[in-house]
Structure formats: structure tokens, C-alpha cells
Symmetry: none
Subunit: 237 residues, 4 copies
Amino acid sequence: MAQSKTVTENGSRESERRRTILRAAIDVFARKGYHGCRIADVAKEAGVAYGLVYHYFKNKDELLETVFDTGWSGFVTRVRAVVEGEGSLAQKVQGVVDVAFEAYRVDPRAVKVLILEIARSPAGSRINRQTAFVDAIRLSSELFAQAKEAGELREDLDPLLGSALLFGAIEMGLTAFVTGLADSRDASALERAKAQIADSFLHGVLAAASPGAEAGTWKPEKSSEKSATKSKAPKRT
Amino acid sequence: MAQSKTVTENGSRESERRRTILRAAIDVFARKGYHGCRIADVAKEAGVAYGLVYHYFKNKDELLETVFDTGWSGFVTRVRAVVEGEGSLAQKVQGVVDVAFEAYRVDPRAVKVLILEIARSPAGSRINRQTAFVDAIRLSSELFAQAKEAGELREDLDPLLGSALLFGAIEMGLTAFVTGLADSRDASALERAKAQIADSFLHGVLAAASPGAEAGTWKPEKSSEKSATKSKAPKRT
Amino acid sequence: MAQSKTVTENGSRESERRRTILRAAIDVFARKGYHGCRIADVAKEAGVAYGLVYHYFKNKDELLETVFDTGWSGFVTRVRAVVEGEGSLAQKVQGVVDVAFEAYRVDPRAVKVLILEIARSPAGSRINRQTAFVDAIRLSSELFAQAKEAGELREDLDPLLGSALLFGAIEMGLTAFVTGLADSRDASALERAKAQIADSFLHGVLAAASPGAEAGTWKPEKSSEKSATKSKAPKRT
Amino acid sequence: MAQSKTVTENGSRESERRRTILRAAIDVFARKGYHGCRIADVAKEAGVAYGLVYHYFKNKDELLETVFDTGWSGFVTRVRAVVEGEGSLAQKVQGVVDVAFEAYRVDPRAVKVLILEIARSPAGSRINRQTAFVDAIRLSSELFAQAKEAGELREDLDPLLGSALLFGAIEMGLTAFVTGLADSRDASALERAKAQIADSFLHGVLAAASPGAEAGTWKPEKSSEKSATKSKAPKRT
DNA sequence: CATGAATGAGTCTTCATTCAT
DNA sequence: CATGAATGAAGACTCATTCAT
């Protein structure tokens, strides 16, 4: 304990500035996005000299990568805990959703960065939204594979796709809050969303007695035809 | 017809180069992302002179905006046609999923740009992934609101969230293909994904006794097919 | 002819600016040295915009390399002409000396750059004073090798070393002028230097009746030895 | 002795670190050149803390100047001892050559710095290769002036130029070793070079019965002359 | 004396945009 | 319409130097 404490304290002292800078980077990224964010902005936000950023981070990319790893690895770790833990598929799905929303509750800005800005890293960078989600999706696809074997999952659902759908639902659900489409100040709204996402994912969105037999008979009206042609136009010059 | 022809000929001649450039921009954006893509790259890809891009587009932002509007408005228009058309909730959901996957089948690169790259536009730009999806989500949230009133939707599901979940599932499902997580060369995989997304969304992923076997049988009539071809045009060239 | 003329004219027009920049680079390099020379200085000296330098040269290194190649390759070419031409060793030696001094007469600044500043290129660069002189030395070492076989050269002189000595004499002779140790405005001084270098190199510096037998028997008195040891100390450690 | 000892002990203790740093600076300069060498590199090489370099040296320039003075003044001192000592011109010339090669034998890296890197100091710096050699050349030019009066030197040779040629020969001879053109691991090669340089300088490079009358009669054909003059400087473009 | 975190001015380099031909 | 040379503002990164501990 004492040792751990010492390490922690030393560590804290050693990297107090580093963390300040990292925090500033998250904020600036969240506000302006990766490309809109200048090292000068981060330094100013952190209240340190320009060059100090380069004392702690090799370059802008590494700074981003650290922002990312710090946030994302924590998320993945917690998702893994849920996936590899005990419980039914339904419980685990709800667990994964909870993890994501809890992260948002604790640090909305960090989540915003993870969801909306991470992908903006230069082509050369290893990290981006794709890779990140791919990791999480692969991870939880095992969850679905096992559930399928256990007969908990629909026979016709591909585990990988199922996993993708879950994270898609989570991501866009959060996006609704992140973008202000839904009111994130309403705590109960978040709670409801959490429950709805997991439940809808598990049981579907239809009312108990779902007819749905007519699927496939839908037909667009002509008006749509027209508007489509029009909306195409603006491009000109 | 004659009119159309005239327009086509004049328009074509006038903007043949323009379309070439737009097409090149989509390709380069898809390959390198918005910020990684230089005007010079677009010009080279299009096989035209450097400065010509500025004859047809005011600046880089407008070029992006055009790429976006061309692709996204086409998508939104078709979604609107589905939403405002006739049919049950299940049919319309399947219709929306189909529209998205059809767009991907016709022009994967353009879809990749829309899903992964659009958000990279500068902060100042009006368009970005959030805004775009917000539009689509708002649009189809009406669908869910109506369905709820009609008793088709679960009582406990917020229409807006339901809409978000649908597009989240679609987006991440497509992302699986875009990023190569799933094999997009496998046509049947795309077909299966389409059906699974709509069905899972409607009935949930659990093994329960899901009917919905008919989902996925929806087929666009020729008129829709046609409009699709047109409104989607820019993705082709 | 016409064609050639056209090419020349077009070429001139095409690269007029390029040459202006190159010329400016030589001047600035000669004045401030490679590291002391900013791209901004070159641009200002050339009277062009900052970025234009990068239109014609990939980066600072390439600019330097071009300055170097332009000057040095011309020199090497002429040395080669002398070395591979007809004539006795003595004639060729004089020829090499003449080439070097003529270059200095025509463009002292360029020679100054070649002699004094070229070596300052960053480590990564392929070109530097060593490499350059090595080329020239290797080239003319063949001259000495052939002369040795022909019995024109002293038996005990290594061709490579002989070549090195010649260029060393030339370089330091020019350095005397470049640094102002000798008065380069005195045309006859240059002429005399040319003749003396070649002649001394060929026949030695001693008066006609050279004793020279004792050469190599010189011994430092103890005092000198001592002081030497002391003054050299820092090189030890 | 006692005095020396005291000085040594106090001095040693005081400047042990200083000498370590100086040594490190020489090594790093020799390896990377003045501009390629960072204070951090020197500190690391010396195994001391970053800021300690600034305890012993005011700034980077002073560090270089010290490296230079330490090495070069030692060399000049020893050359002065030779020049001002007893002996014939031939003996003294051989002595100067010996001093240079001995320095190289004892510490090749330091010599490399003196020959190749010193000149890289910023323009503002007082010391550079020119200045350094100018001192040495001026110094030994007296040697030649006296030799000329004594009739030991050719009548037509300018003392200053003679001195320049000697150092040019020495420098380029050493350069051959420094750059690896000649194999410096071969001790006998160094010995031979020493003798050859002095001997060639004194007696010339021609075979014993050297007519040498033709020296200076070599003439480039007109075409070559012409192209030479024209193609001279910026050569090509 | 020693340490190395902190500072920030100086440079190179990129690239969107303009404009003369 | 087409071309691509010319412009210059913006921003990442380096590194000598300082200073609190």
C-alpha cells in the first residue's frame, strides 16, 4: 500500500504537467477537432509553454494517440470485464451499454473526442475510429458467438454483425446526446436511453404483437422522385 | 425529353469537367480523408490543371460541401421517400436499411466518404457527420413517432432514440464493410446483413420466437430503381 | 538549330526564376554559410515569394545540392578533360591548377561556396566537402598512376597521396585569396600563384641546388617537445 | 613540480567534469559536426546532466571555441616551436608535417574536428577554419621568408603562398585519412605519407631528372577554354 | 555543484488560393 | 475555359538557454 502510494505520488508529481497537457488536449480536441487544434492552443489551455508539450509528447500525433489510448483502453478494459464476466447475454449487453453511458456521464468531453474526433488523425497514424471500433467489435463478437452456441441468440444473426449493431446503437445513441439532439442535462433521459438501447437491441423495437408481415410492400411516391432531382442541382457554378 | 436532352447536352458539356473533378474528389477523399487530400491531388486524379478546380468550385470547402450534398441529399431524399411513403413500420425500416445498402453497393467509396470522412471538414463548415445524421435521424424520428401513435412501436421507446438506434445500426453495419471487417466482395454477405439489421432492429437479437422472416423481401419498384440511379449519379461517373 | 534555340528559349523562360533563385542561394550561402542562410533570405535576395523556392526546389537540402552540383560538376568535368586529355604530367598538373583558378576568376563567390561552405550540409546529405574532394582526388589519382608507370613521377610517391597534395595545394592557395590573406584584386598575383603552385608542386620549393638529404632528420628540442606535450594535453584525457 | 601538482590536483578536481564535457564535445563534433550536435548530445556523451554543460561553458559557441583553442593552439604552439627552432628549411618543413601527423596519430577525432568541423561554427563566431589556417600560415610564412633570404627557397616563390601550399598539402593529406580515402589503420601508410608530403613539397613530385620546362605550357584547346569560361559557374540549371 | 523541467524564438515546410497568360 | 507559376499565411517542430530545486 505504502509503496503503491509512493509510486502514485511520485508518479503524480512527475507527470502532473503531463496530465495537465493531456487534459488540455482532450478539451481542445473536443472543442475544435484534431485538425483544428493547434499545439499552441493546447499549450495555452494547459497554461504551459509551447515547447513543453514536446517535452512530454514526441509530436502532435503521439499526443493524440495518448489521448486516445488513455480514454479508449479504459473503455475496452471495462467492456472486456463485462464480456468475460458472468451473466446472461441480456445482462452483458446491458452491461456494455452501461459502461459506455457511464463513461459519458463521468467525462462527456473525453467521450466526445473518442466518438467524434479520434478519426481525424493523419493517415499515417495507427489509431482511428475504425481500428478502435473494430477492436471493441471483435471483442464483443465473441460474446455473441458464445451466446449463439448457447442458443441465446437468434440463429440467423451473424455474431460479428450483431456486435457491430450493438456498438452502432450505442454510438449513435450517445451521438444524439453529444450533438445536443437529446438533452444530456436530463439525467433521467440518459438512464432511460441506456435501458431502451439495451432492451430494444435485445427484444426489438416493435410492439409485442408485431405484424410486420407486409414488409416489402412499401412504395415511394412520385414527389420523392422530383425532389431528388432537384436536390441534386446546387452544385453548379 | 427534348428539353431534358438540351439540358443534358449543354449541361454535360459545361460540367463534364466539373463532374470529373467531383468524382476525383470523392475518390481522393475516400482514400486520404478530407485533410489528407490536397487540391493538387484532386486535380491530378481528375487529370485536369491545378487551377481548374477553382473554376468549378469556390474553394476546398465548397468542393467538400458539394461532395457531401450530392451524396447525402440523395440518401436523405430516398430515406424521405421511404418514410413518407406507404407501409408499416417494419416495411419502412427495411426500406431505410435497403436504401443505405443499395447506396453502398452502387458506390462504396462515396459511402465511405459519407460515413467516415465527411466529419473531417473544418469546424467552420456547416456540414459534418453530426449534422448530417441529425437530419436523417430527425427525419425518420417522425416515422417512429407515428408508429408509436399507431401502436406499432413499443410504448417505452423514445421515437428520437429509436431513430438514432436504427441509423447507428446501419452505420456501424456498413462500417464493418467499409473498414474491411466484413468482406464486401461477398454479395450475399451484404444481402444477409441487410436483412439481419432490419430484423434485429425490429425483433431484437434474442432467440425468442421472432417471426419477421419476411423482412428482407422488400423490393424497390422500377421507378424507385430509376430515381435511385439518378439521384445517386454523382457516385458513379 | 532552331529547335535548339527554341528549347533554349523555352528552357530559359521556364527556369528563369529557378536560376534567379539558384543565383541568390549561391550569394547568400557565400555570405552567411549554409546554416546561417534562411530560405527567407534566399527568397528576398532573389526577389521572389517565400513559397516559390519550394516550387523549384524540394527543400533546403536540394537547393544546396543543386548549388553544389551545378558548380562542382562543372569543375570536375573540366578537370576530367584535362586529366584525360593529351599532355605530359607537368602540363596536366598545370592544367588542373588553371581550371581551378579560372573558376575562381569567373565566379569567386561560387568558388567560395564550393570551398568553404559546401561541407556544412546536414549529415543526411550525400554531398559534402569530403565526398567532393574525394571524387576529384580519385579522378586525378589516375593521372598520377599513369605518370608513375610512365616514369614521370617519383618512384616513392603514392598516386593517391600525390593527387591529394595537389588539390590541397590548390585549395589552400585559393583559400589564401578567398580569405583575403592574399589580395585577389591583384590579377597578376593570381597569375603568379597559378604558376607557382604548379611549379612548386612539380619541382619542389627548394632552391635549385637542393640539399634536402637531411629532410626527415629534424628533431625538436626538448623544450619544444615539452611544450608540445602540454599544449596537446586536451586531446588526451 | 609542486606547483604543477597543486594546479593539477585543484584544477583536476575543479575541472574533471569540464574536461569530460570537452572530450565529449570533441567526439560528438567529430561524429555529427557542429550544427548536427546538440548540447543534449554532448551531455549524454559525457554522462552528465543537461544543464551542467552551462556551468562550465557559457554557451555552445564558447564550448566550440574551447574545443578549438585547446586543439588548435596546441598545434600552433608546436608548429611555432618548430619554426622558431634550429634547423634548415627542409628540416623545419619535415618538422611541421610531423607535428600534424603526430597529432592525428594521438587523437584522430580531434584532428578531424579541427580540419573538417571547425569551420561550421556560426558566422558570428570569431573562430573558423580560415582564421585558424591563416594564423598557422602567417606563422610559418616567416619561415619561408627567412629561408628565401637565406637562399634556401626558390626565388620565384612567394613566402606566403609557399606556406599556404605546405598547409594545404598537409591538410589534404590528412583529409585523405580522415575521410577514409586512405587507410588510417595502416601505421606505415601514415609514416610514408609524412615523408612523401615533406619530400614532395621540398623537391617536387617529378622523377629525378625532371625537365619540367614544359610546366605551364599545357593549353586547353580553345573550345574547352571557351566552354569552360561560359559553362563555368551556375553551370546548367 | 548538479539536475532536468520549462521557456519561446527561430525555421522549415505545406498548401489553399490568386492571377497573368 | 485552361494552365500552372506565384503568393504568403499558418503551424509543426527544434534546441539553445534559463532557473527553481
